[in-house]
């Protein structure tokens, strides 16, 4: 979802800002507020300087709790919880527990002054890491966390149950060590009251719903934290107790089976089946660290993915880059090249059949209708040639290069041109039926559905035009819409250079959802059951759920993904500017195989009869077994 703020939201932001302490304010004549470093449910956390040490810069963390509850009883409970946290912290001494310096209450706000931890919380570390955290790193943190849990659980006279182990409560300091923060929770569980009650979220074990807080509960939450760190799947966004449905090694195959087994044991549904103590879990982790050699271990070789050794069925060399998309008809593959020719090749062996020269590069996908091949060229013309002989049937002139691929509906060919027009040309006569003037060059392929033509243009405008060439509605994205559209009766899907995947209502152009991509995109989405799959210039191939715009998976290639993915059986085929064609399992995004070429792949592959056909800027057209 978009972080951008409308006017109204900015309004409410500023009321939050007003209630926050501003930099430069001194609290209790001692703590000079420098900046907000965190936001909690009940107030902010600030970095402040302790002015009792005027000659050195001593930084402290000031945790604020704003007590705005109107009910006096609720207010009192909140203050008691706060003081409980302060008193608890004062009795604890462990390298992974922050030192407490002070606490005080000013009017409706209470403050805790704590050791300032230079670092980031684990949730931020997980989110900011590209790909997965290394197993060694996670094991090292896990051992430290077991150590501090062991300390808390053996506290005298009563064991302390942390109750709120989760990545955002674990700070990683500048030396890479973990520090537990936020001891304030110890949520009281109200039971026995009739009505709807609330449990807790994400990292909590099943028994917490029954009000039981035991060391085994902390072990479960630690398991949940490690699962999140290893898989990048936030359990708060998943149904509770669903870790078993997301096996670690299926998401992140780099994790060792031994570590996976430890995390699974910590996450056992029945507390009796988990580790008996944090110490026991620590021992198990240490054993794995020793075995896999935290001290410089050999990288495992066995990647199950074959990236070498795939032999193409055939390849065919053109005289220049192949950026277009192929089409197939009766055993012949048709594809355009930057050498200005359209080639007809035998689909079985790649044997040259004929070529048809134009006066410009061909980047579009040919359309085959009634024995004719129809395609646009950068020579500004739409060419119609015989599929069998390659002889010209007719041509149609526009006033700009044609990069949009033709679409046929109701006896008319629809295509766009850099001359800003959407052209509707009668297939039999080769004459214009009408043309529709848009705001800019049209490079996308028109999408036709229920008597309407949908297309985006380089200005960022997106049009819905009926079969008489009248505009029904218009939508505006922030940057060019070069991507073509795919759609269902329920929604139209396309991407924009403004780095967004859009879902619009086809009837009126209202936005159903937007999905933020890492960078711009000109890739056309592909529908795969309830997933929308599309590439972007950040190198990722994304799979997004159609009903709620949730990311199902993403796959990283080594360079921009400008071409479009296609679905064939249960695989997605997609090229990347890194030169490889990728074959991914469409439900999980897992790599099945990849095939490297010597140039960028910017077109869309064609898969037909278990063979993948595609071109590369290395001048070759390839055919591989799907």
């Amino acid at each position: 979802m978009f972080p951008e703020l409308s006017d109204d939201e900015q309004g409410s932001e500023s009321t939050v800002a007003k209630s926050q302490l501003q930099a430069g304010v001194t609290l209790a004549k001692r703590y000079l507020i420098q900046e907000v470093v965190g936001l909690g449910g009940m107030g902010s956390v600030y970095r402040a300087r302790d002015m009792h040490f005027p000659n050195v810069t001593k930084l402290v963390a000031v945790k604020e709790m704003i007590n705005s509850a109107p009910d006096p009883l609720v207010r009192q409970t909140i203050v008691q919880n706060f003081e409980r946290e302060a008193n608890l912290l004062a009795t604890l001494h462990h390298p992974s527990i922050p030192k407490i310096y002070d606490y005080f209450t000013l009017e409706s706000r209470s403050y805790l002054v704590l050791e300032f931890i230079h670092g980031k919380d684990m949730e931020a570390v997980i989110n900011e890491t590209n790909g997965f955290l290394s197993e060694d790193q996670v094991i090292a943190w896990a051992i430290e966390l077991c150590d501090v849990l062991d300390y808390l659980h053996n506290h005298k006279p009563d064991p302390i149950i942390f109750r709120d182990m989760k990545p955002s409560n674990v700070m990683i300091n500048s030396r890479g060590e973990v520090v537990l923060v936020d001891f304030g929770i110890a949520k009281a569980f109200q039971s026995g009251i009739k009505g709807t009650m609330i449990g807790t979220e994400g990292y909590s074990p099943p028994e917490q719903y029954r009000g039981e807080a035991t060391p085994a509960a902390d072990i479960y939450s630690l398991g949940a934290t490690l699962h999140h760190a290893l898989t990048r799947r936030d359990p708060r966004l998943e149904p509770p107790f669903s870790f078993a449905e997301r096996p670690i090694r299926r998401i992140n195959p780099a994790v060792s089976p031994e570590l996976e087994a430890i995390v699974n044991r910590a996450l056992e549904y029945d507390p009796a089946n988990r580790f008996k103590s944090a110490a026991e879990m620590k021992d198990a982790l240490t054993a794995v660290a020793r075995k896999t050699g935290l001290l410089g271990r050999l990288k495992t070789i066995a990647s199950p993915v074959k990236s070498e050794g795939i032999k193409p069925l055939w390849k065919f060399k053109c005289e220049d880059e192949v950026r277009g998309t192929p089409a197939i008809h009766q055993g012949t593959v048709y594809i355009g090249s930057y050498d200005n020719n359209l080639y007809a090749l035998d689909a079985a062996d790649g044997k040259f059949q004929w070529k048809y020269p134009t006066d410009g590069g061909i980047v579009s996908r040919p359309l085959i209708v009634e024995g004719n091949v129809i395609f646009g060229s950068e020579d500004k013309r739409l060419h119609v040639v015989s599929a069998r002989s390659g002889k010209v049937v007719w041509t149609y002139f526009t006033d700009g290069p044609i990069r949009s691929s033709p679409t046929i509906a109701e006896g008319h060919i629809f295509f766009g041109s850099d001359d800003h027009y959407l052209h509707a040309v009668n297939i039999n006569t080769g004459r214009m039926a009408w043309r529709f003037e848009s705001a800019d060059a049209i490079r996308s392929t028109p999408f036709v559905m229920t008597d309407m033509v949908y297309f985006g243009v380089e200005s960022g405008d997106y049009y819905a035009v009926n079969f008489r060439g009248e505009m029904k509605w218009r939508f505006r994205s922030k940057r060019a819409v070069t991507s073509s559209t795919v759609g269902t009766g329920q929604a139209l899907y396309f991407t924009s250079v403004d780095a967004t995947l859009y879902a619009l209502d086809p009837r009126n152009g209202w936005v159903i959802w937007r999905f933020r991509l890492g960078k711009s995109s000109i890739s056309t989405p592909c529908l795969a059951d309830d997933l929308i799959i599309v590439g972007a210039a950040d190198g990722f191939i994304y799979a997004v759920e159609a009903r709620n715009a949730k990311e199902a998976w993403r796959f990283r290639t080594e360079h921009q993904v400008n071409g479009s993915p296609v679905l064939y059986k249960d695989s997605i085929y997609c090229g990347s500017v890194d030169g490889s064609l990728y074959c991914l399992e469409y439900r999980t995004g897992r790599l099945r195989w990849k095939f490297g070429t010597e140039g960028a792949i910017t077109g869309t592959p064609l898969v037909y009869d278990d063979v993948v056909y595609f071109g590369s800027t290395d001048h070759y057209v390839y055919a591989l077994l799907a």
Binding site: M1, S168, Q190, K194, I198, E201, G202, P240, Q490
Partner: protein, 302 residues
Amino acid sequence: MEKLFRWLFGKHPPSAEKATDVASTAPLTEEQLKAIVSNQNPQYDLPQLVAAAGQSVGKQRELNEDSLLAITATMAGNSGNLPFGLYVVADGMGGHQFGEVASNAAIRTVAGYILKKFSPYLFQIKTNPMEESFQEIMAAAVNEAQRIIQREAPGSGTTLTAALVIGQQVTIAHVGDSRAYFIYPDGRIEAVTRDHSLVQRLQELGHITAEEAENYPHRNVLYKALGQGDVLEPEIFTLAFPQLGTLLICSDGLWGVIGEQEIIRAINESPNLQRACQTLVTAANAAGGPDNISVVLAQLIG
């Protein structure tokens, strides 16, 4: 239109003797229904949204902690008049202080936020399409409600099931165990939300059976509620409004008390939506009325 529905389908899930009468008649397919309705109703070429609501405190509670809102309008626009509807049910947490404050704040904040966003399109002359998506507006409205509840009544919580209808798209935001259903004239019922309740989850995991679930001691424990937790991830999704069907949103005071068959019958046999709401509320009270009851029904006709 409702009369036509009654005439067409009202006799479908009838008493036993009637069932034998129509035994030789196969139920109509959706296509057939569509064909009949469109043939006999050419005057409904523009879709019309109609809705009704009903509430009761129930027979065993003193307080009503449910809140409800139903707004139906038509957006005049260049590409035709668009049906606009906003239907929300919120059920405040009984075990917490301010259950009714939370459900009330949830409704007001969510509805206030959404109506403010759509205000230019409903009440002012404006032609630019909205930039934000339905789902983003819903998410922002729910987050705003989360913030307000945490500020106004910390510790309290509420369920929230909200449906925003624009044209033929219905965007639903859902937290907790109030429910949205699609009910079709041929007697099918489809739950479109999934309860965020412990008992539901344990059942999904196979740890308890449906029978055990009926008597589970922590039946009412939710794992997600508005006002609770630091990260609230409401379920937000968009579906096509059920063709010829009815959208039902209700609190557990309805669905936890009367069965699906009774719900279907009440809707498909009532002459209009108001009467259907009345029938549903009465049925829940007749079955003991253990909890507050809230019901909203909406249909898109034409």
